[in-house]
Each structure stands twice: as C-alpha cells, then as structure tokens.
C-alpha cells in the first residue's frame, strides 16, 4: 500500500472523547495563548516568541491517544509531532523573513502553508524509511528463499546436463541422434524454480503489512 493511501479520516473518533477533554483543551489553549501575551509584555518579545511553539496540544493528545489506542500509538503520535515541529521551524522562518514587508494575512497564510508542506514531506520521508526498514527482514527471507531455489535449480540442471552429456556421449559412440536433445531437457525443470521464487516473495511480503500499529 502506498504511504499516502494510509491516511484516513475517522469522524467517529470524535464521539469517543468526553466533553471534559474538549473543554480541557480549550482552557489549556486559551490559557497558554493568554500567558504568551503576558510573558511577552513582562519579559519582552524575545522570550514571548519562544512560547509561540509551546507544546499546547501534544502532551494532552498523547495522553488521550494512550487511553484510546495504547502506548505504541501515543509514541507514534509523538513521532509525528517531530515532523510537525520541524515544520514549525519553516513557519517561524517565514514570519521572521516576511513579517516586516508583507500584510499580516499573507504572512500567516504563507507560513501555515510552509508548515503544512514541510511537515507532510518530512512525515512522508519518515514513513517511507520506517516501512522500508520494517520490510527489510522479510525481504532477506525472500532473498534467501530465492537463492536456495536458484541453487536447487542449478544443481538439478547440472545433474540433468550430466545425464544429457552421458546420453549424448552414448549417442555419439552409438552414432545415434541423441546428441540433438542435449539442450532441451533442463528447460522444463527451470520453471519450477521460478514459481517457487514467486511463492517466497509473497511469504516475505506478508509481515511488512502489519508493521503499522497506529
């Protein structure tokens, strides 16, 4: 399955969250934003600016995800937040670069698009890397199975050609037409090896599909 095809929207998840959890997020988000204003007022915009990237959602969402889907899913949530954080570096850079020379709506729009693009691209790269890593052991199993099939096939071919050579030799000695058949015999046996390789590839791919615990 393609990495992007894994993205799904599940609106029914909203019903699993209590109104208290929504209220807590609203209060936390409001309090942090108000506190950021007070900090900037008291300590200057330099310190206040740090709090623009305060973890307002992540800790609460990780706690909620652990409750509904388990610890592994909460860990995955945090890993996704690493991509989002690096996207925030793009957001901050755009604001720093554009804020003094462009209207507010344009700065915030470009910065938000930059955050989204950088975050999703980094997530895509991370997801592809993790998928490849998860598939690697099964690929090695498939490779070993293929090598074994090839080796068996070669041994059968070798045995077959030895038989053919001796038959041909007998034919030459006898002066009969057996030498003409020398190249035909092993061909049919090789087909078995190809089918076997296909089987082992399928076996190898199966464990990789289950890697996504989210």
């Amino acid at each position: 399955m393609s990495v992007l095809a894994r993205i799904q929207v599940e609106p029914e998840k909203l019903g699993q969250t209590s109104w208290k959890a929504y209220a807590a997020r609203f209060l936390l988000g409001g309090a942090i934003t108000a506190a950021t204003g007070l900090i900037a007022h008291g300590f200057g915009v330099g310190v206040g600016g740090l709090f623009l990237a305060f973890p307002a959602i992540l800790p609460a969402s990780a706690t909620l995800v652990e409750k509904h889907s388990g610890k592994r899913a909460a860990a995955d949530d945090c890993l996704g937040a690493v991509a989002g954080s690096l996207g925030l570096l793009a957001f901050g850079s755009v604001v720093w670069w554009l804020a003094a020379q462009a209207p507010a709506w344009l700065v915030l729009l470009v910065a938000t698009v930059a955050w989204a693009v950088v975050s999703v691209v980094l997530w895509y790269l991370l997801e592809s890397l993790l998928t490849r890593r998860a598939d690697r052991p099964s690929s090695q199993v498939a490779h070993l199975a293929n090598s074994r099939e090839r080796s068996d096939s070669q041994q059968r071919e070798k045995r077959g050609s030895d038989d053919d050579v001796s038959t041909a030799a007998r034919g030459v000695v006898d002066g009969g037409p057996a030498a003409d058949c020398a190249s035909g015999a092993p061909g049919g046996r090789g087909t078995t090896g190809t089918a076997g390789a296909g089987d082992s590839t399928e076996r190898g791919a199966a464990p990789g599909a289950g890697h996504d615990t989210a």
Binding site: L52, S69, R72, A73, G84, L88, A104
Partner: protein, 114 residues
Amino acid sequence: MVGELAVRFLLGGLIVSAFAVIGEVLQPKRFAGIFGAAPSVALATLGLAFANEGGDYAATAGRSMLAGAAALAVCSLLGQRLLAGAHWPAALVAGLQWVVWLLVALGLWAVVPR
C-alpha cells in the same frame, strides 16, 4: 489589557481545539501527530501582534519561535522514546515534555546571539 487577554484566551482556545480535533480524527497516528505540533498558539498570538504592534514586532517573535520549535522537536522525540522504549505512562511523559521544552527553549534563546 483584560479585554485583550480575553480575546487571546478565546482565540487561542478555539485554534488549539480546532487543530486537536483534526489530529484526533486522522489515522495513522504518526500522521495525526503532525497536528500535535500545529502553529495554534502562533496563529492566535501573531494575528494580534500584527494588529497591535506591527510587522517588526511579529518578525522578532517569529525569530524567537525558531528556538521554541527546535525545543518542541526535542521534547517530541523524547516523548516517543519514553513511550515506545521505556513504556512510561503518557501523563508523566506529558509533564516531563513541558519541563524539557522550557529548559531547551530558554537554553537555546540564551546561547543564540541576538
């Protein structure tokens, strides 16, 4: 001042809640996690900063935000390690993430020349 704080509170609460809801309905969680680091506080604060203080003020805030974002990446990675590797409870990890974020952000802000 009280009126401005109330506006900040409402705006921040709404934007943080909106991003949290988006993250909640998305699967897989590794993708949904992106919204755990959404620019929610930044959008609410910078919108008001532009209106009240002007572009230069917002640009300085954006520059400081870089240290905060780097700190957020550190504490997100730490959270992933503690939850997946050490199996810490998420509530404890959440508390630790806030402390680590504060230390790393203030540390970066102190050492980066301004």
